[in-house]
C-alpha cells in the first residue's frame, strides 16, 4: 500500500498546519486580505483548518482607496459567505490624519503608504500576528522569508538576522509590542495556487479571467484606465482583451493580454508563460531591491 500525498495535498497540509500553529501560538491574529488569489487561498485554507468552527480571526483589508470595484464586491460576498469579521483600515484616513503624505506626479502610488496604515492598524487592534499570502517564488526578497517572520516594535524585518526555522517547529515567542507575520503558503508557486483553485473549484474575482477593458501602456506595464491614474498627454487608451495575473492597488497592477477565461485555461497559460507574475507590477520596478526595502519598513 502506498501512503503518498501528491504535491498539492502536501502543500495544503503544510499550510493548514501553519495556520493552526498561528491560532495556537498567538492571542490575536488577523488575515491580511487584499482580494488577490493568494489571500483568498489563505482564507479558504483557514476555513478548512478550523471547520466546522468559524475562522477564529478577522480579515484585515488595508484599503488604498484605489481599488477595482470587482475586488470590493468579491470581498464583501466572501465575508458574508464565510461568516468572518472584516476590518478595513484605510490609507485615505492615514492621509487625512497627516500620518502620511500622498505622492505626487504621474506614477504616484499609495503602495508605500500602506505600510503606515498597516502598522497603525496592528497597533490599534493589538494584532500580534498577521497571516499573509506572500509566496517565496514571487520575489527575491520574499524567497528569504520564514513561515513565522518576526517584526520588532517598529514593524521592521531584519533579513540578516532571522531566527532559524527548524523542522516544523515554529518559534512565535516575542516581547510586548513586537509582532509576527505568518505566511502559510510560503512554499506555493503561482502555478500551485491556480492548480489548487482548480482542484477546489474556488470562485475568484472576475478580474483574473479574460475580459474586454480599456487599457494603456506605461513603462512596459499595461494599466487599466481609471480616475485614480492621471494620464500623460501621449498615452493612448485602447480596449483590449486582457486579464490580471495579480490583483492589488489599481495604480500598480498590470494587465496581460490573455484569452484565458477558465481556471484550466489559466493553468495552461501560467505553465507556458515566460514572464513572472510580478513582472507586471509597477511597484516592484522602482529599484532592484524595492521589495526588500519596503519589507524592512514593515510592508507585507
Amino acid at each position: 500500500m502506498s501512503f503518498t500525498l501528491n504535491h498539492l495535498k502536501s502543500l495544503e497540509s503544510e499550510a493548514i498546519y501553519v495556520i493552526r500553529e498561528a491560532a495556537a501560538q498567538f492571542q490575536n491574529p488577523a488575515i491580511l486580505f487584499s482580494g488577490g488569489k493568494d489571500s483568498i487561498a489563505v482564507t479558504y485554507l483557514a476555513r478548512k483548518a478550523f471547520y466546522p468552527a468559524p475562522i477564529p480571526f478577522p480579515l484585515l483589508h488595508i484599503d488604498t482607496g484605489n481599488n477595482f470595484q470587482e475586488t470590493l464586491d468579491y470581498r464583501d460576498k466572501l465575508v458574508s459567505k464565510l461568516d468572518v469579521r472584516l476590518i478595513v483600515a484605510s490609507v485615505q484616513d492615514s492621509i487625512n490624519q497627516h500620518r502620511v503624505t500622498e505622492e505626487k506626479g504621474y506614477n504616484a502610488s499609495r503602495i508605500r503608504l500602506q505600510t503606515t496604515t498597516l502598522l497603525d492598524a496592528i497597533e490599534k487592534y493589538k494584532f500580534d500576528c498577521c497571516l499573509g499570502g506572500a509566496r517565496r517564488d514571487e520575489e527575491k526578497a520574499r524567497a528569504k522569508e520564514r513561515f513565522f517572520s518576526h517584526r520588532d516594535e517598529f514593524g521592521q524585518w531584519d533579513p540578516k538576522n532571522q531566527r532559524p526555522e527548524l523542522w516544523n517547529l515554529f518559534n512565535g515567542r516575542m516581547n510586548v509590542g513586537e509582532n509576527f507575520r505568518v505566511f502559510p503558503i510560503s512554499n506555493w508557486t503561482e502555478l500551485d495556487v491556480w492548480q489548487y483553485m482548480g482542484m477546489e473549484k474556488i470562485e475568484l474575482p472576475s478580474l483574473y479571467f479574460s475580459h474586454r477593458r480599456r487599457v494603456f501602456e506605461r513603462d512596459g506595464v499595461l494599466l487599466a484606465e481609471s480616475p485614480f491614474i492621471p494620464m500623460k498627454p501621449n498615452e493612448v487608451v485602447e480596449e483590449q482583451t486582457v486579464r490580471f495575473r495579480t490583483i492589488g492597488d489599481i495604480t500598480s497592477t498590470g494587465a496581460t493580454f490573455s484569452e484565458a477565461s477558465t481556471v484550466d485555461e489559466i493553468i495552461n497559460e501560467v505553465a507556458a508563460t515566460r514572464v513572472t507574475e510580478r513582472g507586471g507590477r509597477a511597484d516592484d520596478k522602482r529599484s532592484e531591491t524595492s521589495m526588500e526595502d519596503r519589507k524592512k519598513e514593515g510592508y507585507f
Binding site: F3, N6, H7, L8, K9, S10, L11, E12, S13, E14, I16, Y17, R20, E21, A23, A24, R47, A49, F50, Y51, P52, A53, P54, R136, D137, K140, A141, A143, K144, P159, K160, Q162, R163, P164, E165, L166, W167, L169, F170, N171, R173, M174, S186, N187, T189, L191, D192, Q195, M199, D264, I267, N268, A272, T273, R274, V275, T276, G279, E288, E292
Partner: protein, 427 residues
Amino acid sequence: MTQGIFDSNSYMNMELLRFTTAGSVDDGKSTLIGRLLYDSKSIFEDQYENIKATSERRGENFVNLALLTDGLRAEREQGITIDVAYRYFSTPKRKFIIADTPGHIQYTRNMVTGASTANLAIILIDARNGVVEQTRRHSLIASLLGIQHLAVCINKMDLVDYSKEVFDNIVRDYREFASRLQAKDIQFIPISALNGDNVVSRSNNMPWFEGVTLLYLLETVYIAGDINHIDARFPVQYVIRPYNDEFHDYRGYAGRLSSGVLRPGDKVSILPSGFTTNIKAIEFDGKQLTEAYAPMSVTVLLEDDIDISRGDMIVRENNQPHISQDLEVMVCWMGDKPLQKNGKYAIKHTTKDARCVVKDIKYKLDISTLHRITDNPEINMNDIGRITVRTTAPLLYDAYTKNRETGAFIMIDEGTNVTVGACIILD
C-alpha cells in the same frame, strides 16, 4: 516549462522533493541552482533580463546565475549567500523545493535550517580543493539531521581539465570520511555548474563518467520510503469547539500526523494521561476519511470525552513513544552566547512547550576528525555536541533516527526569545 506538460491529470500525480545545497563559500552553489533553473527552463524572461543587466552593470563578462538566488542587497554587494533562499521548479516528474543555504561558517545555522526538512542534500566540492572542513561539517549536519540521500557534486571540473583522476581521488577521500556517517545513499557526480556539464544534460567533456546527471538523480531518487508509516503519532495541535447549535457537542482534535497511519475504530491511548479510547471519526473539511497518514493535517474525534489539550499525543495503544524528562541529545548550537551548563532554556517539541536545564555537556565534536573533545568542552555557535537535559514536563519522543518529528526539539533563549539550539534526541 512548456505548454501541455501540466494537463490536469499529470500534475495531480506529481511528487514533492525537498533538497538542500551545501558547500564552502565560492563552491558555486548559487551558480548550480541558477543552472538547474535555467536549463530546466524555470527561469522567466524578465528574471533573466534583470540579472543579465545587473551582471553587465557589475562588469561581469557572463550572465551571473548566482544573482537569481542572492536576493538581499547585502548578498548582491558582497557576492555571497547570507540566508536560506527558497527556490522552486518542476519537471514533468516532480516538483522541487530548494533550500539554498550559505557556505560561510557564520551562517552554518542556516544550513541546519535548510537540512532539517530536506529529503536530499547536494554537497558541493570544489574540484581544485577537494574535501575540506566545510565539506565534513555539511555532510555531518546532513547526516545528523537524518537526510537519507546525499548527492556529492564535484564542481568546477572545467578548471581541472575534466580529470578522472582528480574526481576519483576526491571520491576516495570522501568515502573514507563518510563511512562514519549515517547516510546510506551517497552518489558522486562530476559537474561544471558554470558550463552545465552533467547538471541537466550529460557532459561531452567527461565520457569516462558512467553515472547519471544531477537532474536525473533528483527526478528519480526513491523517497517514498523515507517517511515512517509504522509508528502512529498524532500530536494535538488545536482543539476545535464550534460552540454553535448545529455542532453543540463537537470536540475535534486538530493536528498533523508526525508518522504512521490512523483509522476510525482504532484503539488509541492519549498521552501523557494514558487514558484509552477509540477513534470515532477522522475528518477533514467536513468530510469523513477512512484513514489518515503522515504528513496529513486532519481532525480526530474520539468515542469518549477525555480532557485533552495542545501538546498531548494520540497514539496506538500497542505502539507508544518513550516518555521521559531526562534526555540524551545531540545539539547544533546557534546562539551568540555559548551553551550554558546548568542553563535553563525554553523548548518546543512537537506541539508541546516546556523548559529544560542542561545537566551535562558530555563532549563536543571536532568536525574535521569526528573526534570527541571531552576536556571541558565549550559549545559555541556552529558547534555540535552531546548533552544531557532534564525537562520540566515529560516529553513523548522517539529516537530521531526513527522519527524526524518526534525526535527533535528546539531550545529558545528565554531572555531574547531567539532559537539557539537544534536538538536531536538519541535513543
